[in-house]
Symmetry: C2
Subunit: 331 residues, 2 copies
């Protein structure tokens, strides 16, 4: 059987916001697979903020980077059997050939059994990189204790909403910062104690109302001036986990008024992390999030764009904050 893949090319270097003209759709006739390889067909593709900056490490003309849930159609590898659903960093393409041997980080893997009631798309969401970023970033970097106050920015985004929910499971008071009233409303529905619309509210004042005794943990997805605003209200020995800085991905660095002395006075820690630090505990994270989903302690929400041809638009919309929960594309 011969397959013709569609693939989105990073066709023009990003300048500011990604634009439709920065992408080009191409076709590729897939060759026959060799020993050790398998061929998979994309079912769900992920669009994530990190792509905006990470793809800039690759030459223009490369296939856009990203993960997907795909089904194995042909295989000459004993671990990836025909019919299996896998997660792989195959890029923005409908068919991919992969030889997993020698891949160390971001290795493809067969999806664990999610049970009958959960969609496979969670493999690029709560039960994948996104869910693990929330799980490990919150629990290993912020290390919240019961009764502490946790603030999360980008709270209605893919990672942020899970962070807040896990913090609630751990007995914390949770405040989300998000970009619309609709997002804030949803955050309260899934258990956040308070939600602040940063586009309309005085964040400093609202945060003081919501956390009069200060903030113990801040999980940052956005960067920019919000970090300094939250930092001002942090308590002694507060912990800041930096997962992403989406507000700064499109442009030149913003001038930030940075009260550095807070670091010393309050003995704060700020730590950036990549989820791949916990590659050896990958299925612990997925397993725990799956358990919480099955117990009804964790909710998920997806913003689904249909059609591979709409991937650039899905990405552009996500970068503008158009998604609630995880932004995905269904082929």
């Amino acid at each position: 059987m011969v397959y013709t893949a569609q693939k989105w090319i990073y066709a023009r270097a990003f300048d500011g916001e990604p634009k439709p003209e920065d992408f080009r759709l191409e076709e590729e006739l897939m060759p026959a697979i060799k020993d050790g390889e398998f061929l998979a067909k994309a079912e769900y593709l992920s669009v994530d903020p990190y792509m905006r900056i990470y793809v800039q490490s690759y030459p223009v003309g490369s296939v856009m980077i990203g993960g997907q849930v795909a089904q194995v159609l042909e295989s000459k590898h004993p671990d990836f059997l025909v019919g299996a659903y896998v997660f792989g960093q195959f890029g923005w393409r409908t068919y991919a050939i992969c030889n997993p041997t020698g891949i160390e980080t971001r290795k493809p893997y067969v999806l664990p059994d999610f049970g009958t009631s959960l969609p496979r798309s969670l493999g690029i969401g709560t039960l994948g990189t996104v869910g693990n970023s929330a799980y490990f970033g919150l629990l290993e970097v912020c290390r919240p204790k019961q009764g502490e106050t946790v603030v999360v920015s980008g709270a209605a985004g893919a990672v942020g909403n899970i962070v807040g929910q896990i913090a609630k499971i751990k007995g914390c008071r949770v405040i989300g910062i998000a970009g619309s009233d609709e997002k804030c409303q949803w955050l309260k529905e899934i258990g956040f104690d308070a939600a602040i619309n940063y586009k309309t509210a005085d964040i400093e004042k609202e945060l003081l109302n919501a956390a009069p005794e200060g903030v113990d943990c801040y999980f940052d997805n956005v960067g920019g001036p919000i970090v300094a605003t939250v930092r001002k209200q942090m308590r002694h020995r507060g912990r800041i986990a930096v997962c992403g800085t989406i507000s700064m991905y499109n442009g030149s660095p913003i001038q930030v008024q940075d009260p550095q002395r807070d670091f010393v006075w309050k003995q704060l820690v700020q730590e950036g992390f990549s989820v791949h630090r916990w590659t050896d505990r990958w299925f612990e994270g997925i397993g725990q999030n799956l358990k919480w989903l099955q117990e009804g302690k964790l909710q998920y929400r997806e913003t689904v764009t249909k059609g591979f041809e709409n991937m650039p638009q899905a990405f552009i919309d996500m970068m503008r904050g158009g998604n609630i929960g995880k932004a995905i594309v269904k082929v």
Copy 2:
């Protein structure tokens, strides 16, 4: 015996650089000591950057804050015998009465035996708060490994020069950033591998020359734009210890161009600390620094101002970077 203390009052709220008119000299007739108290006479007083901002927590009219090495002249406390030399946070005053009971942090203590060849003034320097800030801040917050590259700013200052020397003892490559050619020359004399005069050099370029493979640890004493400059050249999983931010103490916060994304890409950690975190290990730090001094592995240098009446000027000079090594006042 009746003693009349001289004391320097924080007479006017600081506005920008401290000025002579911000201080007022007063006298105080010392009362008789009560049970549990002792009376001590200052021998060496410390002037340190933290005073510039910490004293602002006290009302104008308070005695200026600070530590000193003093001798016990009268005592009704069994642990502080007449004749003993003590370290105490007695403020800018020539005589002090202290009841140590109930003081938890910054508790006064009898100086350990420094041996015959080392001056008691080290009790406010290498063998006190300053030495412990270097010892614990470097080893517990930066956690340098043998062969790593350590950068320290304010390197010719009280804490910075000790940080660099301890890093050398631990087998690191050490680069100092300081404010004059004379300071840089001294840093090289005491073993720094390189020293950069931030007032005349292109720090970014010089740092790249001195550490072409990047920086593992940054011990920051100064804050301001240098932090972002060093951060750019940090390696994966680099560690930043923030001990002080003297460049920002005199004025309104500086606008800093902060490449926050470095935090995520390189998984950096930045942690502020106060040395009082290690109160329970205080004499471990002093003991180790004493051993290194006695072995000749650690050098010390003091900038001594004579006369209690010159304390404000010693403080003003120190804030302007006039000192090399520890700035002290000899009564």
